[in-house]
């Protein structure tokens, strides 16, 4: 199940909220959440829910064993086996087809390509369980004794299918003891509405524009290639950060406090900063668990860096363009590391903004084109000369000019700005607070109306 469906918003969610708040005590509330989380996952993955359960059993057991063995070799072996199993499961279900396809490029090798459908959310919950096992080993968390509670951590539906990657330490205490205050619930519901609006009102509409600009890349001008990739970057931002908003908001309604996953990434001044603002939970995961893995000896600083970016790329998908995408960012971060923070800061701010946006936009082109031939064409077009912009692009941009302006504005911290102003001005604060319910309701209704249209199956093809 995904959040941006009428069935989720108007059937699953109200029933879940009703059951949750009718339940008495944290234990019952946890049971309700666990039940709905498993139902949520099984709704889309009736079979793969067993895989998630298997993963939970393995990692729960590993945690318990690590707790029993303490700081010993047995603990390290247990953790190693658990992490290996997690990665192996991810490898089989996510990467086996890709790996075999590439092996088949070797002359005279013709292995059957496994046709395994990717289980929803496997990348997220696998990283959560890996972080849990390692944290148990490092004794930064206490192994959970209750399988029911551990399973709740793994399967908690707000963050199950699209992140953020929630560390066990984040919710360790709240699993046992939490409250949902009126302000928490109000804030959480608003955040959910905001996330849905970002996804449906902004991202999905931007997607149409991005596809129109990039879909016919062979005939694109340089301006269309740049604009298309920029629009696509915004689409992914509003889509992904929208899902994170929904997850954080739902978590808050249920009394959990998840960390932020996006902090206005396009405000960044360099690529290093971009990744401190974009998909923060993934970046911190790799920073904490992979960057300093001592497999590169004295060169681990740079070796680890490229390993992190290789993994970051391939985590996003089993395709070469994602590998390239990760290493592309790794390269720029490597260069920035060589230049050094102090010298980077001496570069005029305008130049740094232009540089970082150009790198990011071109990077999202890599993300968009899984077909490497088309990706090559895209880069050729980025630097092509000739017509600045085609007629079709002019029409398209004018047809969507208000949407694009709104999207650009919303990449800035507008809400933070309103909050700051309202903290200084009582009338603004009152106006914002009073208008909030109406704004939320209007956004939710608009989102719902647009979702009705998303089930539309128009004539994608003419039939002459």
């Amino acid at each position: 199940m995904v959040f941006s469906r009428l069935f989720f918003i108007y059937i699953f969610l109200p029933v879940c909220l009703g059951a949750y708040f009718l339940a008495r005590g944290t234990k019952m509330k946890n049971n309700v959440l666990l039940l709905f989380s498993l139902a949520f996952y099984a709704w889309g993955e009736p079979v793969y829910v067993l895989l998630m359960l298997l993963s939970a059993v393995i990692n729960y057991t590993a945690g318990r064993l690590i707790g029993r063995y303490g700081d010993s070799r047995k603990s390290r072996i247990t953790a190693g086996l658990a992490v290996f199993t997690d990665i192996a499961l991810l490898g089989v279900f996510k990467y086996s087809g890709f790996i075999v396809e590439n092996i088949n490029h070797i002359p005279s090798v013709e292995l059957p390509v496994p046709d395994i459908r990717l289980p929803i959310g496997i990348s997220f919950y696998t990283f959560q369980t890996i972080s849990y096992v390692i944290d148990c080993l490092w004794e930064t968390v206490t192994p959970q004794k209750s399988f029911r509670k551990f399973l709740l951590y793994v399967s908690l539906f707000p963050q199950l299918v699209a992140g953020p990657i929630v560390r066990y330490s984040t919710i360790e205490k709240e699993i046992d003891e939490r409250t949902s205050s009126i302000t928490d619930i109000s804030y959480g519901l608003n955040r959910v509405v905001l996330g849905l609006a970002k996804k449906v009102i902004i991202a999905d509409q931007l997607g149409i524009v991005a596809d129109s600009l990039l879909g016919g890349i062979e005939n694109a001008t340089a301006a269309a290639a740049w604009t298309g990739a920029a629009v696509y970057a915004m689409q992914i931002y509003f889509d992904f950060s929208g899902y994170s908003d929904i997850a954080i908001g739902l978590g808050r309604v249920f009394g959990f406090h998840f960390d932020e996953n996006f902090r206005h990434p396009f405000m960044c001044r360099d690529i290093t900063e971009f990744w401190q603002r974009w998909h923060i939970s993934l970046g911190t995961f790799f920073r904490d668990y992979l960057l300093y893995v001592p497999i590169f000896g004295k060169r681990r600083k740079y070796g680890g860096l490229f390993l992190v970016w290789l993994c970051t790329g391939i985590w996003h998908g089993a395709s070469w363009n994602f590998v390239i995408w990760g290493l592309y960012y790794g390269l720029f971060i490597f260069i920035e590391t060589l230049i050094g923070k102090k010298r980077m800061k001496k570069i005029p701010l305008v130049i740094r903004h232009i540089y970082s946006k150009a790198v990011i936009i071109a990077g999202f082109g890599i993300f968009y084109f899984e077909d490497l031939d088309k990706l090559g064409t895209f880069f050729t077009k980025l630097f092509s000369t000739g017509r600045l912009i085609g007629l079709q692009d002019r029409i398209l941009l004018v047809n969507n000019v208000y949407l694009l302006i709104l999207a650009v504005i919303l990449t800035f911290p507008i809400i933070d700005g309103i909050r700051r102003i309202s903290q200084r001005s009582a009338p603004v604060r009152t106006a914002a607070a009073v208008s909030l319910p109406a704004v939320s309701a209007a956004l939710l209704l608009l989102t719902s109306i647009l979702l009705v249209d998303q089930t539309s199956h128009p004539f994608l093809y003419f039939r002459f």
Partner: protein, 448 residues
């Protein structure tokens, strides 16, 4: 939106919660208790039905997925909501290019014809214009309609469907022709002619509305259809080209093409049929010999595809003509079996203003029309859906007419033509079909 404000008034927070929950639970009641829609006429399909449970459907996810699809797809008042979006929300995204009421909107991935592109393009050019849609939500599973009033969904044709992009300008939808395999079409018709010997072989490649109505300042968005039609005519050997373009262009100011649909209007087919019968030296009746019929507030396939507010706010009058002469019509399946006695045009009883096919019938049947012309001329038409509208206007000119859609034909076309003792064969289709993927069907029909 509220952010993590530490001291909001508790009362306002309560009001906020109540407001959002009211929408959530109100929406739930709306979704569950109000009657569910069953048909989407503008999309030509039945909406999702509640899935049947079985162990298999549960395991493969189609049962649970189907429940979500059912609620998402059958929202009460769906059509009105979609029209509200088209009329009142979509225009908020931007402005029409050119600014005024008659300005341009573009849908799809436009193929822009540049100076370097040759006038005679290849099939590969067509593939560049495939509509690419990314939707992160799972697609809704639906079932095709098999009973009236919505026509059955056509099976996918061998050789692919035709993809294009649409320019809406001057309150008219225009398909943007991407060019195609001009020589391939001419070679195919020439091969038919060789195999058919003495049978008269006619080729009438019809322009789409884009070929006639695209304003000069937007011409770079499409390949020139006239150039390709002329190139085809020049490349034919033995087969006779019929110049529908000139006839249609002469009547451009009349309603010869639908503004909201990718087909021509019956009046356009009338002028094209006239050009054909003149070329063939056959009798032809003027419109006074036909009964004029109307469908009001017609919104065709262009609206279905684009949801354009301009098209929604400017529906059109669909005018068609029924010949007054007596004809018998039998419809067969694609192997020319199982005849059904039917009317030439779909009866107007309970007809809703939903589409070209309501009037002219579907493509996936072979029709045999017998007239009292008594001139011994037997015509086989190989066509796309444009050809359906031609049929009524040829009933004064031929004794027998066999209407075959090249995409839905399971026999050897040459053998069929010989079997029915045809004196004439007309290949009539629009430019997209002639030079696009449908050409593969026409080629394949020779070798079945």
């Amino acid at each position: 939106m509220q952010t993590d404000n530490k001291k909001p008034g508790k009362l306002l927070a309560v009001v906020n919660i109540i407001t959002i929950l009211a929408v959530l639970f109100g929406g739930a009641a709306y979704l569950i208790f109000l009657p569910h829609e069953t048909v989407a006429e503008d999309e030509n399909r039945r909406l999702a039905s509640f899935p049947e449970f079985s162990p298999k459907s549960y395991i493969d996810g189609s049962f649970t997925g189907g429940i979500a699809d059912y609620f998402d797809d059958t929202v009460h008042g769906r059509d009105r909501i979609k029209k509200f979006i088209a009329a009142d929300i979509t225009p908020l995204k931007g402005r029409k290019y050119g600014g005024d009421e008659d300005g341009a909107e573009l849908y799809g991935i436009a193929f822009e014809h540049s100076e370097e592109t040759p006038a005679v393009t290849t099939a590969a050019a067509t593939t560049a214009a495939v509509t690419h849609t990314t939707v992160s939500s799972p697609a809704v599973q639906t079932t095709a309609v098999t009973t009236a009033p919505i026509p059955a969904e056509e099976p996918a044709a061998e050789g692919g469907e035709i993809n294009s992009n649409i320019l809406v300008v001057n309150k008219r939808g225009l398909p943007l022709y991407p060019g195609g395999d001009v020589q391939g079409y001419a070679d195919t018709i020439n091969e038919y002619k060789k195999k058919l010997g003495d049978v008269n072989v006619w080729s009438m490649v019809v322009p789409t509305a884009g070929g006639l109505y695209i304003p000069s300042n937007y011409k770079s968005l499409a390949v020139d259809e006239k150039k390709d039609i002329d190139a085809i005519a020049a490349a034919l050997e033995g087969a006779v080209p019929v110049d529908a373009y000139t006839s249609l262009a002469a009547h451009k100011s009349e309603d010869i093409y639908a503004r909201t649909d990718h087909h021509w209007m019956a009046l356009g087919a009338f002028y094209a049929a006239k050009a054909f019968t003149e070329a063939a030296g056959l009798p032809f009746k003027e419109l006074s010999e036909y009964e004029e019929l109307h469908l009001h507030d017609y919104l065709g396939t262009f609206y279905g595809y684009t949801q354009s507010p301009t098209l929604l706010n400017n529906p059109e009058e669909f005018v068609y003509y029924r010949p007054k002469n007596e004809v018998t019509v039998d419809q067969y399946d694609t192997s020319f079996r199982d005849p059904l006695d039917v009317a030439l045009l779909v009866p107007s009883d309970n007809m809703t203003p939903s589409g070209y096919y309501y009037v002219f019938g579907m493509d996936n049947r072979i029709a045999h029309v017998h007239t009292k012309t008594g001139n011994g001329r037997k015509l086989v038409i190989f066509k796309d859906s444009y050809g359906n509208a031609l049929l009524p206007f040829l009933t004064y000119s031929f004794e027998d007419i066999y209407l075959c859609d090249m995409r839905y034909f399971d026999l050897n076309a040459v053998s069929f033509i010989k079997q029915v003792k045809a004196t004439d064969v007309l290949f009539s289709m629009c430019t997209f079909s002639a030079t696009g993927p449908n050409l593969n069907c026409l080629k394949a029909d020779m070798y079945k």
